[in-house]
């Protein structure tokens, strides 16, 4: 795989992963052209098209287009499966994933992608293992930071802990953007931000379902 793009029906880029070295300008140009081409396709058309000397495989999930560019010798049908697997992973992690999840937690989407694909190829074919790895890494993030702060004598705690702000939790609980209350157990961690050391060791990272 040479690159993967996720974009909305309005053509806004939500995620871009490049596995070939290209300049920023080239990436922008390719993105623009490809987005235009794919959005121009009618709904009943097949998921493959030839573009420049690459094969493009795309699939639409709700309001997001998942688009991969593969090489001549790659199998198009299995690429569709790879795309589907990635969506399943996102779904399991975020719980009924929607575009907003990916907008607000784009770095998590990247982390999951990097646990599933490396250098354009699948590194793990078991859904369970990928999710487990992400979960462990998330845990590590919380634990190490906690320990670090413990040992650094950082008691009294800064009210805004940088490590918390990038976890997939800090959605404003009062007005969830998707219009429904998502029960993220790790909401508990927002307390952590406020109360500093009252770190709840029983908090479950959100990826465990």
């Amino acid at each position: 795989m040479q690159f993967m793009l996720l974009f909305s029906r309005q053509g806004k880029l939500r995620l871009q992963k490049w596995y070939v070295p290209l300049s920023d300008k080239e990436k922008k140009k390719i993105t623009r052209e490809l987005v235009q081409t794919v959005l121009a396709r009618k709904p009943k058309m097949c998921s493959f098209l030839e573009w420049r000397d690459l094969k493009i495989v795309y699939k639409r999930y709700a309001s997001l287009y998942f688009c991969c560019a593969i090489e001549d010798q790659d199998n198009e049908l299995i690429t569709l499966e790879i795309i589907h697997r990635y969506v399943e992973l996102l779904d399991k992690y975020f719980g009924s994933v929607c575009e907003l999840d990916i907008i607000f937690n784009f770095e998590k989407a990247y982390f999951i992608l990097d646990e599933f694909l490396l250098g354009g190829e699948a590194q793990e074919t078991s859904k369970k293992n990928v999710l487990k790895a992400i979960e462990q890494a998330d845990l590590l993030q919380e634990n190490i930071d906690f320990q670090m702060r413990l040992f650094a004598g950082n008691f009294g705690g800064k009210p805004n802990n940088p490590c918390c702000s990038i976890r997939s939790v800090a959605l404003d609980v009062n007005s969830p953007p998707q219009g429904q209350q998502k029960q993220h157990p790790s909401n508990i961690n927002t307390d952590f931000e406020v109360t500093g050391l009252l770190f709840s060791l029983i908090s479950q990272p959100s990826c465990l379902k």
Partner: protein, 747 residues
């Protein structure tokens, strides 16, 4: 300094912006804040700031000032920092910036970190965007990790190794020992990535390929286990066990079995098993079947297996899923050359796909249809293809038209059918026909002598209907120019002859000259056609008038022609009939063939060889130097106008006679063969006959001259270094043709 706002806050704020300008303003404000925060070397919030920068980068705003910050994050001890730092590096940095090399040391340290997730981050980053320098430095570390027992790291190291090999192929050898027991792993992740690594190595190096052939039995076994094993929830996808791994193994088997009989035989059974046992209701199953078919077609499989594969593709063609049909058509296109008969069986399904709504499928079906046309099915196929030509999108018309012409030329059952087909194409897709088809068509028409009357009549009628399609108009005007007399005399046998007067014909042609729809090229054709009719029609005065009018045309080409034709009328009237004679039958030519003939109709016999004898520089008694200049464009003309150039005597003195004869090489008609016959009519032997051939530099693309030398002996000739030196001239160097004979000795 208040704490920088959180990432989610920023995202929410930016999304509330109603216009692009508003968004830009918010972004700029935030960027300024981030920049000052970076300047202050704030460790606590660096992570948050970089994360925000990455978001803004995705929206399309510049974020290069964050590159160094990413490096600082990578170097930090906090896992969170590292995570964002590596992500930033992958998004913002690439091997073009020098900055990225600073990462090397950090990555090296992290590859040896105590926590596997940190190692994982490092491997991932290296495997995605490592430059060749980085790969060179860190290959050793990757190789070490490839041998670890930790499967989490091993699988990542394998893919990282793939990337290293792609960047620095010379390092491939280094990973060889580590691959020894990769396939004995139980972990599917490691298996999958190992197969990818082995595939990469085999594709790049034939030595590796032969080395890894011994793995075929092991691969077959793994594949068998996957198929036969029961349900395994961890790797199951719609009832199939680990399809990703299956596809990968099939691909590796393909590479290993290619051009190797033993390996191919070892995998015959498993391929047949996969092909028959795989569940085809979902896309997954079809993905595996697709890969299996590709493998079967590529290795040296037995014919039964190949037929099985083609049948699978045939079934794909009937599948409701468009993607499957597309894939089937693509594969059939690849196999149609080798397994033509098997693919023929599915011809009707393929032709049905021409009516599909999807553009990609239509294109594939069209290409495949053309590949399947043969002498037996030409009439039926052509009907379908012409129907397709009528109704398809403009983007297809040019290719389709060319395809139809080619097919018609190869398999036309009769001349009449051929001409009818061409007419159909010209009238339905006339404006999309390629430029080079016009001369080809003209040549075809010229050569179908018995159809001249019929052709010109049909073309005339088409012209009356529509003069907008330039290729049609050009061919028509050329034909009318050539065969106008047949048209007027109503000699058509094939169909009802129409009543047409000379004036009507001239009206039509003059109409072309004045019409806005005609291009300059078309006007040229029309004018020349009118001129030609001056020898075939009796209304010469009218033609003279037209020609003289265009002598002052603004279009230079038209003006030139008119002036020349005028001159023909005035000063060279005696030559006119000969020059404007009917064109002779043309042989099939090379690239810039008949175009020359068509447009400069006067020259039926251009000066091919200007044979001159240059004054000999030194002329010792026995030495004769005879030079033959082959003029610059002779080569082109030779190839083009092979209307039987008569043999010519280049030199005939002192008993030595040199003759050139010209013919076309068999089987390659692009090669002109000039045969030089040298004969000795004296009583004595001629010795030391040296032949040197030199020809002007002509583009390689258009011709090759092979000079063959035949020596006919009248009396004895001592053949010396002749033919060998001739072969050297194939590279077309500028010099002289020299034939010299040194001494005639008395025996």
């Amino acid at each position: 300094m208040p704490a920088p706002i959180r990432l989610r806050e920023l995202i929410r704020t930016i999304r509330t912006a109603r216009t692009q300008a508003e968004e830009r303003e918010m972004i700029q404000k935030e960027c300024a804040a981030i920049r000052s925060s970076f300047r202050e070397e704030d460790n606590t919030y660096r992570c948050r700031n970089v994360a925000k920068l990455l978001y803004m980068h995705m929206l399309g705003y510049p974020a290069h000032f964050g590159q160094l910050e990413c490096l600082k994050l990578i170097a930090s001890q906090k896992f969170t920092d590292k995570r964002i730092g590596y992500l930033g590096a992958m998004l913002l940095l690439d091997e073009r910036q020098d900055v990225h090399l600073l990462m090397t040391n950090c990555i090296k340290n992290d590859l040896n970190h105590s926590t596997q997730y940190v190692q994982g981050l490092a491997l991932c980053t290296l495997g995605c965007m490592g430059s060749s320098e980085m790969c060179r430095d860190l290959a050793g570390e990757v190789e070490k990790l490839l041998k670890t027992s930790n499967s989490y790291l091993r699988k990542k190291a394998a893919l990282c190794a793939v990337h290293v090999i792609r960047k620095v192929p010379e390092l491939m050898e280094m990973f060889l020992p580590a691959t020894k027991n990769l396939l004995s792993e139980k972990n599917h992740g490691v298996l999958h990535t190992s197969v990818v690594l082995l595939t990469e190595m085999c594709e790049r190096s034939p030595d590796m390929l032969s080395h890894f052939r011994k793995l075929v039995p092991q691969l077959v076994r793994i594949l068998k286990n996957l198929i036969m094993s029961g349900y395994s929830p961890e790797h199951d996808v719609s009832g199939i066990s680990d399809p990703f791994l299956q596809v990968r193994i099939l691909r590796l088997l393909r590479i290993l079995g290619r051009s190797d009989d033993d390996s191919s035989e070892a995998m015959n059974d498993i391929l047949a098993q996969v092909a028959t046992n795989t569940e085809t209701s979902k896309n997954v199953g079809n993905a595996i079947l697709y890969e299996t078919v590709l493998t079967i077609m590529d290795i040296k499989s037995e014919s039964g297996l190949r037929v099985l594969a083609i049948n699978i593709l045939g079934r794909f063609l009937l599948n409701n899923d468009k993607n499957i049909r597309y894939v089937a058509l693509t594969s059939l296109l690849k196999t149609v050359q080798t397994d033509h008969n098997a693919v023929q069986r599915h011809r009707s399904t393929i032709v049905d796909c021409l009516k599909d709504l999807d553009v990609s499928i239509k294109r594939r079906a069209m290409e495949l249809s053309f590949a399947l046309v043969n002498g037996n099915n030409i009439r039926g196929m052509m009907k379908e293809l012409l129907y397709f030509l009528d109704s398809c999108d403009p983007e297809f018309k040019a290719d389709c038209a060319s395809g139809v012409f080619l097919a018609a030329e190869k398999y036309a059952p009769s001349k009449r059918w051929h001409i009818d087909t061409i007419m159909r194409v010209l009238t339905t897709a006339g404006s999309y026909v390629r430029d080079d088809s016009v001369p080809n068509l003209i040549q075809l028409i010229t050569n179908s002598v018995e159809m001249h009357a019929y052709t010109v009549q049909r073309l005339y009628k088409a012209l009356l209907d529509d003069i907008s399609q330039q290729p049609l108009v050009q061919v028509s005007s050329w034909c009318i120019g050539e065969y106008g007399d047949l048209l007027v005399s109503g000699q058509c046998e094939e169909e009802e002859p129409i009543q047409v007067t000379e004036d009507e014909v001239l009206d039509v042609l003059e109409g072309l000259l004045v019409s806005n729809l005609s291009t300059p090229v078309t006007r040229g054709y029309a004018l020349t056609a009118i001129m030609k009719l001056s020898t075939r029609f009796s209304s010469v005065n009218r033609i003279k008038k037209v020609v003289s009018i265009y002598g002052s045309s603004i279009d230079v080409e038209l003006q030139q022609r008119a002036v020349e034709y005028n001159a023909l009328f005035k000063k060279y009237d005696h030559m006119r009939p000969a020059l404007l004679e009917r064109m002779p039958i043309m042989e099939k030519t090379a690239t810039n063939g008949p175009t020359e003939i068509v447009q400069t109709n006067g020259e039926t016999e251009p000066s091919v060889l200007d044979t001159k004898h240059p004054p000999p520089v030194t002329q010792p008694a026995n030495q004769v130097r005879a030079g033959v200049i082959i003029s610059k464009y002779a080569g082109l003309h030779l190839c083009n106008l092979y209307i039987g150039i008569p043999p010519m005597t280049a030199y005939n003195k002192n008993g030595l006679k040199i003759e050139f004869t010209f013919e076309r090489a068999n089987p390659n008609p692009n090669i002109a063969v000039i045969t030089i016959h040298a004969s000795n009519s004296t009583e004595a032997d001629m010795t030391d006959f040296v032949f040197q051939a030199a020809v002007p530099k002509v583009s390689r693309h258009s011709l090759e001259l092979i000079l063959k030398c035949l020596i006919m002996k009248h009396s004895r000739f001592v053949q010396s270094k002749l033919c060998h030196s001739i072969l050297k001239t194939l590279n077309l160097v500028e010099s002289w043709v020299n034939m010299s004979e040194c001494e005639s000795r008395l025996t």
